[in-house]
Amino acid sequence: MSRVAPLATDIILQAQNVSKRFGGIQAVDNASLQVGRGKITGVIGPNGSGKSTMFNLITGLEKPDSGQIIYKGKNIAGKPSHIVNRMGMGRTFQLTRLFGTMTVLENMTVVTKENFGGAEALARELLANLGLSRLSNEYASNLSYGQQKLVEFLRLSMIESDLILLDEPFAGVNPVMEKKLLEQIDAWIIEGKTILLTDHEMAIMMELCESIFVFDYGSVIAHGTPAEVREDRRVMEAYFGS
Amino acid sequence: MDIVQVVISGILLGGVYTLFATGLNLIFGVMKIINLGHGELMMLGAYITFFLSTSAGVNPLVSIPVAAIAMAVLGWILQFALVERVVNQPAINSLLLTFGLSTLMMGVALNLWTSNFRSVIYEPLTGSWTILTISFSRSRLVAFFIAILVTGGMWLFLKRSTFGKSIRATSQHPQVAQLCGIDVRQVRFATFALGSAMAAVSGSLIAMIFTVSPEMGRMFIGKGFAIIVLGGLGSFAGAFLGALILGVSETLTAFFTNTQIAEGVAYLILLLVLVVRPSGLFGKAEE
């Protein structure tokens, strides 16, 4: 059972009783969550608890079996992902998904709606900001993992997104790169964007997020502020098992 | 009665298709490779039977295992030398590679044996057995039973034997199989050898039913695809049922319209199944 209480804040995304089954596995089971506009919301849970599936359902990569996903007041459940994206929702993937045979610059320019010239100028500026200009003509597949993460972040900046979903952005990233990623997240918040984030780095999650949803076996087992979640017995059980 | 005859003819035709499709299917199941050269492996099997029976006077039925073993060896070599290099590469590479093989083998056959149509006469298998005015073509009935035997044997082998289990494990999850200590490379070699052997068996049987020529493989490859897609790529029972369905729908279409249109049935089925239900009629849904 979800215990989502209506919040007073402005809600940009609301998933209601969403379920998804793959063959014999109930990947997401009647889960609900809410994301407040301009905030950083976190999703945590053990591996295989359905976080990534939830992200895929929200971004239109999977179609939910039941339930509604209300984004900016519209039900987007089952809408193809490019439509969802064009409604202002961007995402990164657990393993980076850059276009390997394209250069960094091309990776960034291909996704915008702007004209080519304008997009390129913007991309160069973004790269320069993070000191990555020299990589702009490099093939994405030649970058280090951390660099790829960063470029994936920058690629998100190329599209006009109001809500950004980050799927385990800090996994396998060294501290230097981690700092750069965090800077970018800050920059987005300052720009007024909303962020939905999942990661296993508990310290970062607790520090960043204003509100956290805890998944286990496809259901939301707890939610609240970091402090509330930290105290919740069920969360401990979910992580350390019985 | 005619309609029963047509259905029977269709089922027997399906039996002829089965062996061919099963080998194709086995290779696809394990390696996710569509072997466009399968028809030529069959053709070589047919030639082995032809030469054994005409030059050495070997009973064509006896020549079947010989052809199977010979082609298994060739299959192993082909896998070792060529196909292994494109496993896990994009589909286009294996498609092209096996197409190149197909062209090459056909070219060699044309050079060695010319495009003459040849045929194996095995007197006991000409004509038919008649039951209640329904004719059962002897050669096709025998082919049908051998197909059931071989397919059934293959099924048992995959289900029961350790090596068969390795093959199944590899086909379902190559990485996991490897982690479990299965030598996936060896499994692939064996699979290609087995698939080639099955192609050879079908070739030997087809030599007794149709004429043998270097271009005979191309007649069957399209139908082979239709069957395994219809049955669900990688599914054994599916391929068997798919072959029967194709055989019967071809003969029925030919009976009610004409043989020309029947020729299109395989491709129409293939396209429709791919578009409507890519997992095939009997296959499991894809991930």
Binding site: N142, S144, V176 | -
Partner: protein, 355 residues
């Protein structure tokens, strides 16, 4: 998967040590170099029928035909990564539309070519819409089936297509040179006697120019994105279905027109010849041999492979099939990136979308 393999630098050891690649200075002049090259080639090829014998002209026509096929194949299958075996189907449909219109309607040939192209474009759209959802081998099989189905239809639909009898096209009689022809009259005669050659030249030229436009545009980048990671492309807002289907339909126009020109040139077609799978294979092998996913790869591949296979075939037609099969195998095994990748790895050509 990467078809145009990025130069091997292995995994970057850490976050900061990746060498930045800077293209050579002349990279930005490539577009101009193409323009000059194109103008020179076109002038040369325009004059060819005057300077060379008819056999050379026909051979060149074949090269231009293969350039058209491989270049147009490259758009969806090289840039977009969807291996299509449908080119033979469109080639055959184009041949038939062209041949039947000329046979029954006795229309002027130029509108006939355009109708054949548009027809194939529409069919391409209708076929692509349901089938381009299929991936990898499934799409390839579907397109093989499509081509075979086209052949069966052409054979079975006797009333319209004349079935296995094939279609005779009006005989093109040569104008013979006369005494004291003015330059203009002679040019007209040359054009008249080589209409199909010039038509193929125009078509191939358009295909090449379009290839450059596509390859350097964002549309081309979108195709590359689809090839590299279709899910991510869609999640980043690229309308993948629209891009794929439109590209497929557009690339169907070219084999369609090429088929119609070919039919008119040969003067007799039958279903088995024009729907032969070898037309697709030719487009695919030349494209891969040259370098799929590049602009000049398919053109280079078409020129080299067509001339080489002509030579081999001249030497010994019996060995031709063996050699052709062997070439395909060798290309797949040893140069999957094609000639262009070899040249780029040796830094003879820069890594550039303009190549």
């Amino acid at each position: 998967m990467a078809t145009r393999t990025p130069p091997v630098t292995d995994q970057a050891p850490n976050d900061t040590n990746v060498d930045a690649y800077t293209p050579p200075g002349w990279e930005k002049y490539i577009g101009w170099a193409y323009l000059v090259g194109l103008i020179i080639s076109v002038i040369f090829l325009l004059r060819l029928p005057i300077a060379a014998d008819a056999y050379t002209v026909t051979l060149t026509l074949t090269v231009l035909l293969v350039i058209t096929l491989s270049t147009s194949w490259n758009w969806l299958s090289g840039f977009g990564g969807y291996t299509s075996f449908a080119h033979a189907g469109f080639f055959g449909i184009g041949s038939y539309i062209g041949a039947l219109l000329l046979h029954y309607e006795k229309m002027h040939w130029i509108p006939v070519m355009i109708v054949a192209g548009i027809g194939c474009g529409i069919i391409g759209f209708l076929v692509g819409l349901p089938t381009l959802r299929l991936r990898g081998p499934y799409f390839a099989i579907a397109m093989l089936a499509f081509t075979e189905l086209c052949r069966v239809i052409a054979l079975a639909w006797d009333d319209v297509t004349l079935g296995g009898n094939g279609v005779f096209l009006p005989i093109l009689r040569l104008q013979l040179p006369e005494e004291n022809m003015s330059f203009w009259e002679e040019a007209q005669m040359t054009f008249h006697n080589n209409q199909n050659y010039y038509a193929m030249l125009v078509l191939a030229t358009i295909a090449c120019i379009w290839s450059y436009v596509l390859g350097t545009s964002r549309w081309g980048l979108k195709l590359l994105a689809i090839r590299d990671d279709e899910v991510a492309a869609q999640a980043m807002g690229i309308k993948t279905t629209y891009v794929k289907v439109t590209t497929f339909a557009g690339s169907a126009v070219f084999p369609g027109i090429a088929g119609a020109i070919y039919a008119r040139h040969v003067g007799y077609i039958d279903p088995v010849t024009v729907f032969a799978i070898i037309w697709s294979i030719r487009a695919i092998t030349t494209s891969i041999f040259g370098g799929r996913g590049t602009i000049i790869g398919p053109i280079l591949g078409a020129v080299v492979l067509t001339l080489v296979s002509e030579k081999v075939w001249e030497q010994d037609p019996n060995l031709y099939q063996i050699v052709y099969g062997g070439i395909i195998i060798l290309v797949v095994l040893f140069m999957p990136g094609g000639l262009m990748a070899l040249l780029q790895q040796r830094n003879i050509f820069p890594r550039s979308r303009r190549i």
